[in-house]
């Protein structure tokens, strides 16, 4: 009896400790976020106060108005230009990745042709090549193609990534073959089967791959830093760092910039968190 009640007490205590630990982690993640958002709505006088203020006493949109209306550098540019560049590059590249890698994934999952296994593992070996080794040769390739300081340099190279091929192949493999056979009997061509049977059935996989690709390209820092050098071509992450360099002493503006550039990805993440979580747990991709 006594040991039973002690057991229950122990269990309760350990549950309490678990929640306490998770709450501390949660606060460590949330607190800086709250502070950033708070400061972005503060007038500069309140930001300079010590100790640090968390909640704006007189909330203001001045910092946001400032970053969207100031002309950046000597050109007639605003943050809108970088936002547009990011949206443009990310959208086109993501569509390209989805089309090209889903077709290749379909071939590997559903069609028989000589050399398939060898090719699959050969392409898969590209996973082993670390990014830093590709930086310089890729830059030289962009130079040779005349793509330095153009958006081509950001749009096309992601289409060579093997992850999409692998991811789509896994999904296509799991689709029952009866469905494809029915389409063959109906006289559908190979492309017809892919386009009208497999692609619509794999909408969740396409969406997940699309989100991953979107996040990856939107957030990329090193590559756009290397291949773009004029202010009007930059994407948001690099533009922000360059721009904030000039405004470094105005913390409210810096924070507003951080909020503006992370809002799109956070919105995408919150909408699709279930798909993202599931895909990360199933494939082991999506980390830093």
């Amino acid at each position: 009896m006594q040991s039973d009640s002690r057991n229950i007490l122990n269990k309760r205590l350990s549950k309490l400790a678990t929640y306490a630990f998770l709450t501390i982690l949660l606060l460590i993640v949330l607190f800086p976020t709250v502070w950033v958002v708070g400061q972005s709505f503060m007038p500069e006088e309140q930001i300079l106060k010590w100790p640090v203020q968390i909640i704006p006493s007189e909330p203001t949109l001045d910092n946001y108005i400032e970053i969207f209306t100031t002309k950046l550098s000597r050109q007639e540019l605003s943050l809108f230009r970088w936002l547009f560049n990011s949206v443009y590059v990310t959208t086109l590249s993501t569509i390209g990745v989805l089309l090209v890698t889903s077709m290749a994934g379909y071939a590997f999952a559903r069609l028989r042709f000589p050399g398939k296994q060898l090719l699959f593992f050969g392409l898969g070996a590209s996973f082993l090549v670390p990014g830093v080794m590709l930086l310089i040769p890729s830059f030289m390739l962009m130079r040779a193609l005349g793509w330095i300081d153009t958006h081509h340099a950001l749009i096309w190279p992601p289409l060579a990534g093997f992850f999409g091929v692998f991811f789509m192949r896994q999904f296509f493999l799991a689709i029952p073959s009866e469905l494809a056979e029915a389409a063959v009997i109906d006289g559908a061509s190979a492309f017809g089967i892919y386009w009208r049977v497999f692609l619509p059935l794999s909408r969740p996989a396409v969406a997940t791959l699309g989100i991953f690709t979107f996040l990856f390209i939107w957030n990329d820092f090193t590559w756009p830093l290397v291949v773009l050098n004029s202010d009007e071509m930059r994407t948001l992450p690099v533009g922000l760092v360059v721009f904030l360099g000039e405004y470094w002493s105005y913390q409210g503006i810096v924070m507003a910039g951080a909020v503006v550039s992370s809002a799109p990805v956070l919105i995408v993440y919150i909408i699709f968190q279930r798909q993202i979580t599931r895909a990360v747990m199933a494939t082991g991709f999506g980390g830093r």
Binding site: L22, L25, A104, A107, L111, A160, N219, T222, V254, L266
Partner: protein
């Protein structure tokens, strides 16, 4: 007989058509792969053995000279040491935090989704946002020192102190990224059959014993995967010092190997030399990954 022959030729052409379709479906991807991945990989190996000065336009084969230069380049070794230190610290930190977070998450129901969603959220942010936020947070009059003042401590100048700068960048990176290994560990923990825990409990195993004797051995593959991939990712650290410490300061205390490669390639245009350093780093990473597999993968049978 006749019918059989007709049948055979029918299947043959069908087979051929399928193979043709396969190649056609692959063709676009293969084209991009050859141009943007296979080509650069080959040229990465060639570049390491040439003197390639973009500004002077020289391009000539010099054998191992670049590697000799690396041997004499003090900054290379300082930067490599910094990157190794950073990678070890960040990998260990990430694994520990993520493992405990995953264990905690697995044992709760109420609020599980909220905790999980919030803790993974920083992973989707870009390094530029992380760098901007944390250089403010770690500034002398930033959030962290304000917090310390509550406890009567004067705080530190985290990013300007040569001894604190790399640990500070590492903590920033753990804040940014621990959600990813957490999800991987969580997936691995869910795959452990509940009966094993019950059996261990019936045998009278304590909490710590279960962790060391049951849980950790069973999620060893995930652990190995995370340690190797985290190490490889973090030894290539670049954005954090580029944004937060003005490219490696104070002095060279946070100057990393990828910063050194970046500077040689894109500030001085020593393409060959930078390429040789990138190849060296690639080999170093490969060796470390092998060692990690050897050390950690040894007892995979249980």
């Amino acid at each position: 007989m006749k019918r059989q022959a007709a049948n055979a030729s029918w299947t043959l052409t069908n087979k051929r058509r399928e193979a043709l379709a396969g190649y056609l479906f692959l063709a676009p991807y293969l084209g991009f792969f050859l141009v943007f991945l296979a080509g650069p990989v080959i040229s990465a190996f060639v570049t390491a053995f040439v003197e390639w000065e973009l500004l002077r336009g020289t391009y000539r084969f010099i054998g191992l000279e670049n590697f000799q230069l690396i041997m004499e380049d003090d900054l290379f070794w300082i930067a490599l040491g910094n990157s190794l230190y950073f990678a070890v610290m960040t990998t260990v930190g990430n694994v520990v935090v993520a493992l405990f977070a995953a264990l905690a998450l697995k044992s709760i129901r109420l609020g599980h989704t909220v905790f999980r969603v919030v803790m993974y959220a920083p992973v989707v942010l870009s390094i530029s946002v992380i760098g901007i936020i944390f250089s403010r947070l770690l500034a002398p009059f930033g959030l962290l020192n304000a917090g310390l003042e509550l406890f009567g401590h004067n705080g530190f100048d985290y990013l300007a102190d040569p001894n604190l700068v790399l640990p500070s960048l590492s903590l920033t990176t753990i804040w940014w990224g621990f959600g990813f290994p957490m999800l991987i560990f969580l997936a691995a923990l869910y795959a452990v059959p509940e009966t094993l825990y019950e059996a261990a409990r019936i045998d009278g195993a304590g909490r710590r014993q279960i962790l060391w004797r049951v849980t950790l051995p069973l999620i060893r593959p995930a652990l190995l995967f995370i340690i190797v991939t985290q190490f490889i990712a973090h030894i290539q650290v670049f954005g954090q010092p580029y944004i937060m410490t003005n490219g490696g300061g104070p002095g060279y205390s946070s100057y990393t190997i990828v910063l050194h490669i970046y500077r040689n390639a894109f500030s001085y245009y020593h393409m060959g030399y930078a390429g040789a350093m990138a190849l060296t780093l690639g080999v170093v990473m490969f060796i470390f990954a092998l060692v990690q597999f050897r050390l950690l993968g040894r007892y995979t049978e249980y």
